[in-house]
């Protein structure tokens, strides 16, 4: 029994990580209908940005996080403004191709600058500390921090979307960008702001990933897959759906891993397939948000 509780809590906490991976993707899809194939590579880019910063600045990874968030937000803004805005239109293939191109470019630039070595971030004792919950049950402090961050990030985004003028602008532009322009909304600028926001969340995902495990320049597509699965399970465009999608993916993997050590990743993919077959729109599609 305690065994299963352990598995469940581990799965949920792992799900927090996946939810963080997926939130940026969910945002860019929700607001711009843009499927960003380079999303995973942006996570890895953020991880390497943090790795490059901690030593010269002599700060810990958590202290570097705000700097990486700012850098990534600026990068995301320019990426959207200078490149991705030009791909938007009636043809969904163009943004796919351009972001696929960016995926390859980012991987190769990282390979050139950082070599193929796997690198990680050291956050000190927090990485191994754990909270005993009585009996044989304990949860790691770091996974707990990751999951708490995921919930707070999504809570904050939800507040932004439904309680602020900027969020209202995001939703209106997402609903109907032509009419939004008739309201004086510069949709291209809104898209750039949305990408900046998504990239700031990507920075959190990247730094947390590099603390958890080591990352290499070509790890992006793997992260994209997790993110994509979490978004698809949760339902396109819904942030709480994305959080639950991440959790479901995490629990499925933990359960699979417990049944057989080789079944971790596969059970995650099976859970994804099962949801997509039974509910092609995901569990919590956007129309149910309100």
């Amino acid at each position: 029994m305690e065994d299963w509780f352990n598995t469940l809590s581990q799965g949920l906490l792992l799900g927090g990580m996946y939810a963080l991976f997926a939130t940026g993707l969910s945002l860019s899809f929700g607001i711009m209908r843009l499927i960003n194939v380079a999303h995973g590579d942006l996570i890895v880019l953020a991880a390497f940005a943090a790795i490059a910063l901690v030593e010269p600045l002599a700060i810990g990874p958590i202290a570097a996080l705000p700097i990486v968030m700012l850098l990534m937000a600026g990068f995301g803004y320019l990426l959207q403004r200078l490149f991705l805005n030009r791909t938007l239109g009636d043809d969904p293939l163009r943004p796919l191709l351009v972001t696929f191109g960016f995926s390859i470019i980012i991987q190769n630039v990282l390979l050139e600058v950082f070599s193929a070595d796997m690198r990680g971030l050291d956050a000190g004792t927090i990485e191994t500390a754990s909270l005993p919950l009585g009996g044989d049950v304990a949860v790691g402090v770091y996974p707990l921090l990751v999951a708490a961050t995921a919930v707070s990030v999504i809570g904050a985004l939800q507040w932004l979307f439904y309680r602020t003028a900027l969020g209202r602008t995001f939703r209106a532009t997402s609903d109907d960008h032509r009419t939004a322009q008739l309201m004086g909304i510069d949709n291209r600028r809104v898209y750039a702001l949305a990408m900046a926001l998504a990239s700031a969340v990507v920075a959190i995902a990247g730094v947390y990933l590099a603390i958890r495990t080591s990352v290499g320049p070509s790890d992006g597509p793997q992260r994209l897959l997790c993110a994509f699965e979490a978004v698809a399970i949760g339902g396109l465009g819904s942030l709480w759906g994305t959080l639950s999608g991440g959790m479901i993916l995490g629990v499925a993997q933990a359960v699979g891993l417990k049944l057989d050590p080789g079944w971790g990743a596969v059970s995650g993919h099976l859970a994804f397939l099962l949801v997509v077959v039974l509910r092609p729109n995901g569990l919590f599609p956007k129309t149910r948000d309100r």
Partner: protein, 232 residues
């Protein structure tokens, strides 16, 4: 100076020419109706004024300033608001949020939430509802309110009576004098010629992308209007 001057405007959808040199003006505080059969170019005219379709700079002049070719969001911020055909409310926004989004990039002026709710009292009790769950008439009121919230100098209304019951249409048009009293010039596109002739100071009838008739409605005989409308 007239708020809006349109000179020799041509508009195209690809190779198809929808407007053949339209001259169109709106004087301060004036209500202008545009009538014409389907495909006469009424909506195209509004789409060109608001920048949704490109136009040469000098062919559309708003308050002395050439606005042809500006992006729609820049044109709207200068004081032109549009009630689009089919209303186009934002489905994931509540009624009140739809109104507020109109104000976000608008000008200062007499219109605010309280005044809109006074103009259309039916909206106030539904303020928190998703806008697309309202009845057609109330959706149209929301769309007009949303446009007014930007305090436009020029209000463009595309087919506000389309698909609405006559009683509801009358209720919506009853608000027009109040809107006019606040000083905005109004352009309405109407399928309903009778309605258009009742409210307009001046009337344009378009036919196949050209102005077939222009002037004060009371000076026209029904025969002249139907000749301009149908071209037979």
């Amino acid at each position: 100076m007239n708020p809006l001057e349109v000179h020799d405007l041509h508009a195209y959808y690809g190779d198809f020419r929808a407007l053949h040199g339209i001259d169109f003006r709106v004087a301060a505080g004036e209500t202008v109706a545009v009538i014409g059969a389907n495909g006469a170019g009424k909506s195209t005219l509004l789409r060109t004024i608001t920048g949704l379709l490109p136009a040469p700079a000098g062919s559309v002049v708003f308050q002395g300033r050439p606005i042809g070719g500006l992006p729609p969001h820049a044109i709207v911020r200068l004081g032109i608001a549009m009630v689009p055909e089919g209303r186009c409310l934002f489905p994931s926004l509540s009624v009140e949020e739809n109104l507020l989004i109109g104000a976000q990039f608008g000008c200062r002026g007499p219109w605010n939430l309280a005044r809109i709710y006074r103009l259309f009292p039916a909206l106030e009790e539904k303020r928190a509802m998703p806008a697309t769950l309202l009845s057609g008439g109330q959706q149209q009121m929301t769309a007009i309110g949303r446009a007014l919230m930007s305090n436009p100098r020029l209000l463009l209304c595309d087919e506000v009576s389309l698909g609405l019951a006559p009683l509801v249409v009358r209720e919506i048009y009853a608000a027009m004098p109040l809107i006019k009293a606040e000083g905005a010039a109004v352009v309405v596109i109407e399928q309903d010629t009778g309605q258009a002739m009742r409210i307009a100071d001046r009337l344009y009838c378009l036919q196949e992308g050209r102005v077939a008739l222009e002037g004060a409605p009371r000076t026209f005989t029904p025969e002249r209007v139907s000749l301009a409308y149908f071209g037979v």
